[in-house]
Subunit: 239 residues, 4 copies
């Protein structure tokens, strides 16, 4: 694992975007998975004007890596895709045929479909203070899991997690979510993880110096042969 | 992980040699790590005449991944290198300057030296019925370990393991051995593991279908993005 | 360009097969183009039993790179594919859906189709004493040509060439043949060229030491960043 | 060859910088060659603050690809390095041990030294209206040339070219310059060429649509398997 320490959130985002753009350019199809959430917000702010309506990025295919249904809402998209649409796919005007949606209806074939598409070339990931990445929260998935569903009884507070994700609206709370598992993510050719802020300092210390353990799912990724962790000074403050 | 199921030990060895030769050819330096032991015996029988005195393999550099001293013997080499010398390096007349020896004197800088050499491109590994690979026996190293020493008190039977490795000669029994750790091996760009015979059927089943757990160290390698497991029919009999 | 000098035709064929097998193994689709003719005969003799009915080569897709119609014969295949079928595809029992035929009906879209398939990963080529490769004979195609048709009036003796290719049967002589052009072949990620015998010594000398010139079309390939020329001692005798 | 058409000089420079940064990031040594001259001015303006004092770019090694001596001046550096120092190496504070200078004293071993360093991973090139790249002016080098010296009698106006390069000071005019040849550049794993302005429209048209010919040296590069041509609208106006 390479650790890139940057000054602040802006530089973290700039460097992450450099990695991302490097992985997107090329003559042949590039399969990229990108993360929703608050950490990559600036990455997409930088990225949108660079990608919007640019024919030279037409070889890029996008994949989301987890999803939570807004149950009974009739929404085509769940929490993750709604967020990605808003932050990136809509403003960058990415064509639908190049967005490969993972959701609650097709998760069982996600790993097969990706394999048939030639594998993923690159993923941009965040990490939680609890060591989760994608939907791989502690005590939900195992290191050996491929794309999985995580049910409401997976952990004591999972019902609350699900409720919170759909904005606290009980009627829209689904009974499970889906996520590419640790093994699915490890199959990707290049991993880039971003983390900023003091609240990430402990997990970053653990990723850089600590053991690999299912208690902190992201520790597995530190063994990947092409993994880069990009952090700001605050997230690096315990190193 | 790709699983290659072959008819028998000969075909397993033939296919492993195809992977190995594919990784050795090229215009620029290739860094290869190879395994000692009984499983690869046939691989080296096939390999020696193909490599001996062939200038077109002069870009290949070799690395052993574990070592046990013959203590007090005055031997330059330990158990692993002695075995590799006998099976491959001597009969293939590989020049010493292209053999990068890991031993009890330099293990602490092994990972740094490999990084400075550009990383390892390929490793050929065996697997034990107990799930060990290299010197990563159950309950010795952890998934997050780089090259490590394993002491005689690491497990209840480690003294016996060490004694057995040096041929049962108590005076030559060292108090520790050294091995590239799980994290060191995961950094290698391509992994190929070979297994044959009924006694490997259970561990092979576990590698292919089971969970990833430090109880069976080799299960970690199943998450590597470029890992191939080559087995014969007997080792595949429980799949 | 790397030059591999081998003892004889057998070793040249063995080493070429090592390169080929190295390019065929893998987890994801591999697109390989192979040559017909007499030079690779031994390569296919070695290859057929190693590939026949082996599931672990099911990711390999095959492409021929030139073709000459047996005109009016009603034959589905032309000269090249007939030869490849006989030497390799039939005895190795390669499934038709993994053989991507170039012929006189579809040559205009060959480069597009290959691009859509992700590009070719590897090509095995021969070379003529006159410096031709594929159907790129001197004074037929230009360095900048993609897949092209070469007409009977391209050179003074082209009618005879075409006649000879279809076995001297005037009724079957077509008015043109098709070939991937120099630029098409240069787009392939890895090139391996084989040459044996004294009659190849001059062109081999030219490839290794000489200038790059359309008079000897294969000289262009010596500029490719991943090109290997495998020759026997006789073909290397003027180096 | 992939052709990237951008709006203007700024976007051309932005996209070129994206390619460059993508090639510079990584865990292992990266060998990069970059161009002097006026076309890349904006690339270096963008690049300098992104690279200056950034430890995460310490794996990058830099190589110049041509040089002209300021004769008798006692200057350590020639025209190209002086220009690169001013535009990039000095303001970005690149350490000298990571700058591998080609000059009039060591050009004969340039290709060997690069090979020993593992080859070049990436080059950023400009192109002249006359089709030259690096110091490969029409009628100076041949497609098959490695790093070469070009003497004052190479072309009728070469004395003037040399004089102009050293600022018109006759006492400093050298009798030759050195350049990596077409074959040296083709060995690089990834090529990126930039061109802007109307005066480049004809050569760009020739690169995209024309033949490959030594009259226009850069046409050779259009056959490279990983070549990108980045142009602005004006340079693309004849496509």
């Amino acid at each position: 694992m390479k650790v890139v320490i940057t000054e602040d959130y802006n530089e973290m985002s700039t460097v992450a975007t450099q990695y991302l753009l490097g992985a997107m350019h090329g003559q042949y199809r590039k399969n990229i998975s990108i993360t929703a959430g608050s950490t990559p917000k600036k990455v997409y702010e930088i990225l949108v004007p660079l990608v919007k309506n640019k024919e030279y990025f037409e070889q890029v295919h996008y994949y989301n890596f987890d999803e939570i249904e807004f149950k009974g809402s009739g929404n085509e998209y769940g929490v993750t895709m709604t967020n990605l649409n808003k932050m990136f796919f809509d403003p960058a005007e990415i064509k639908k045929e190049r967005i490969h949606v993972l959701d609650w209806t097709n998760y069982e074939t996600q790993d097969e479909r990706i394999k048939a598409d030639g594998g993923l070339d690159f993923v941009l990931l965040g990490v939680g203070a609890d060591g989760h990445f994608c939907g791989n929260l502690p005590n939900t998935t195992k290191f050996g899991d491929l794309t999985s569903r995580v049910d409401e009884d997976a952990t004591p507070n999972m019902v609350d997690v699900l409720l919170n994700e759909v904005g606290g609206v009980e009627e829209m709370r689904p009974s499970f979510y889906v996520t590419m598992g640790p093994k699915s993510i490890m199959q990707i050719k290049q991993l880039v993880m971003i983390a900023n802020g003091k609240e990430k300092a402990e997990i970053v210390k653990r990723l850089v110096e600590g053991t690999v353990s299912e208690e902190y799912p992201a520790t597995l990724l530190t063994t990947h042969p092409n993994m880069t962790l990009i952090v700001d000074k605050e997230a690096a403050s315990l190193l």
